[in-house]
């Protein structure tokens, strides 16, 4: 009887939450699981690595130079007699060999893992945040128009700021002050001007000039015109060498895809009934965006960001390889490889160990991302 009752009331398959269902689908993709496992392993390695290789007296010292022990192949035992006690590698063996300065490659790889990880995550974090922000505005508020006076004032403010930064103090301050006065004026202008008839030019200033959507999408077009790697290279070369600059530059040159996607998604979500319903209930813009629309748009963005992390790690390695990466005493996989390329025939492990490490980590992000994408794609889901 209970059985019958059940079939009558719940004729559909046993309910799963969305996440469980996703995991179920994801689990079937063996390559993606492999990617996830490698990723977790890499994450742990990087975290342990940064703990063990930093500080005054690190457990694994990546900067310890032993000129008498240079270019030793992996798994070589150190020659104890010639070394100071402090110079003996922690494990008692050069697990991955030594480089041309006798530094322990294993310690350097540990230190470099953290760089790859943070560059990947921070750069993609920046690009996703910028992308969602720009795309969200374009998609949700895109139909709004900027007025002529707003454009003029923001131009005035920006020029003022730039002039100030360049040292032309008086003009800069003057422009900034003028801009802010106008902003104050326009905030209270409704009260002041309420009873007067306004001149024609003033109305013209208040007419909409260009939609926000157009501005943002043209900005995307402009950014897409730059050859990305070349642009990153230029900026990184001009700026002082630092890891944070690299992250920021990679992040700021790769937000365009996310923006386009989020905008398209928001444009279609905006027309959906549940958004109309939320509006009808008097829900505010902010809550509609973050509570109702974002959850529907975010999953594919996160998927593409895992692949973005892979791309960022590759870009950082490429920059390090060209000599524009994280500045020297700090090891990254890219500059280990770059240093090692001179000894490619004598000490191939200096090329192969970082190369294979980068390959595996990038591969795991790619496999993981593709697995997630397949699991999220309803079309592929139907066909099993």
């Amino acid at each position: 009887m209970t059985n019958t009752q059940q079939t009558l009331e719940s004729p559909l398959a046993p309910k799963q939450t969305r996440l469980e269902e996703l995991w179920e689908l994801f689990r079937q993709n063996r390559l993606a699981i492999l990617g996830l496992i490698i990723f977790l392993f890499f994450l742990i390695t990087a975290i342990i690595g940064v703990i063990l290789t930093s500080g005054q007296d690190p457990v694994f010292d990546p900067a310890m130079i032993r000129l008498q022990e240079k270019l030793l192949p992996p798994l070589t035992r150190p020659n104890i007699e010639t070394l100071q006690p402090a110079e003996i590698p922690t494990l008692g063996i050069y697990l991955l060999g030594t480089d041309d300065l006798g530094r322990d490659v294993f310690s350097r790889m540990l230190q470099g893992a953290w760089v790859s990880l943070t560059v990947g995550f921070v750069a993609v974090g920046i690009s996703v945040l910028v992308g969602i922000f720009m795309g969200g505005i374009a998609g949700y508020f895109g139909q709004g128009h900027l007025r002529y006076d707003q454009i003029i004032i923001s131009c005035v403010l920006i020029t003022g700021g730039i002039l100030l930064a360049l040292g032309t103090t008086y003009t800069g301050v003057g422009l900034l002050v003028a801009g802010h006065i106008y902003i104050f004026f326009s905030i209270f202008s409704k009260k002041i001007l309420a009873r007067r008839t306004l001149p024609k030019w003033f109305n013209l200033l208040h007419r909409g000039a260009i939609s926000i959507d157009t501005i943002i999408m043209r900005a995307v077009d402009i950014m897409l015109c730059f050859p990305t790697f070349f642009l990153i290279l230029t900026v990184v070369a001009l700026l002082p060498a630092s890891m944070y600059n690299i992250m920021i530059v990679i992040g700021l040159t790769s937000w365009m895809g996310t923006t386009r996607f989020v905008r398209a998604e928001f444009l279609s979500l905006r027309e959906q009934d549940f958004v109309t319903a939320a509006k009808a209930l008097g829900v505010g813009h902010f809550r509609i965006i973050f509570r109702h629309m974002m959850p529907n748009a975010i999953a594919p963005v996160l998927v593409s960001s895992t692949i973005g992390i892979a791309m960022a790690i590759l870009t950082e390695a490429g920059l390090s390889f060209l000599g524009f990466g994280v500045p020297p005493p700090h090891a990254t996989w890219g500059n280990i490889l770059s240093d090692g390329k001179r000894f490619i025939f004598d000490a191939p492990w200096l090329t192969f160990i970082p190369g294979i490490a980068i390959l595996i980590v990038v591969l795991c992000f790619n496999l993981f991302g593709e697995g997630l994408r397949d699991a999220l794609n309803p079309k592929l889901r139907e066909k099993g």
Binding site: L31, I162, L166, R218, D221, I222, L224, C225, F226, P227, T228, F229, F230, L231, L233, T234, V235, A237, L238, L239, P240, A310, L314, A317, G318, F321, L322, G334, L337, S338, K341, I344, F345, P348, T351, P354, G355, I358, L359, V362, L363, N366, L367, E370, K379, L380, K383
Partner: protein, 319 residues
Amino acid sequence: MFSFIGRSIVQKIITLFFVSVVSFLIIHLAPGEPSQVDPMNPKFTPEMVERFQKEFHLDKPLYVQYLYFYRDLFTGKIVSWKDSQSVLTKIWERFLNSLPLFIVGTILTWTLSFPVGIRSAIFRGGIYDRSATFVSYLLISIPGFFFAYILIILVVTTLHVPVIGMETFGLGASSWGTTLMDRIWHLLIPSVLGATGGIAVLSRYVRSQMLEVEGQDYVRTAKAKGLPPEQVHYKHALRNALLPFVTMFGLILPGLIGGSVIIESIFSWPGMGRMAYEAILARDYPVILTVNFVAAVLVLVGTFISDLLYLVVDPRIRL
């Protein structure tokens, strides 16, 4: 139709203007002056710096510099700061060097990725598909410079052919055939390298596009008509799956500059990418800006061509 073309051209010119402004600002607002390239050099006296600044209008306000720069660019008078040669001539020479690399790479990419992708889609889930998938992931994930070294080691140790540079140094007097083979070897390895990433990405894209189309109702209709599988796949499905690639065809133009920096540096190939790299190292602003400008023009021309191609290919779009 014509209004579409006109509008699109105007739009692209406006975009180009902003690109020129933005790239100019990026270069000039970055800390560091080109005149400070080598402040330790005793030959760089203050007088020389001043003369240098005068010559390249560096003492003028930024917008005047901008106007001077683009006036020079459009009249073709722009010169490199490093060696005072005309930038346009330099770029043209390097462009001619990059061209064979680009052409061979593009041909490899487009001729290999389509058969691979289509076969993967038709035999979805089979051994072929799975191994193609895995290999393409591998190729997407491998850092280009690392792969380059693997290839160099392989070729140099097994075949004993030198591959660095455009030709082997001191081979000038050899026979015609040897020279030709030498050039081909020197061309082939960097082209293959340049193409691998493209092949991997494009074949994955072809595969997913084919899969998408194979699930469409009209493919079922074609089967229901009694068409043999080849016609179903290669006529009905493929024709639809190809549509988005027409767009991509216009986008290969920018690849002329962008992707070649690392490969050209490794192989000492005197092409555009290497020139750009050297210009960045030397803070040779006119060259950097001009390369950037040319790249932007190529992107815009590419998108324009692909828009036009789409008009021609997709019967549903009529203006």
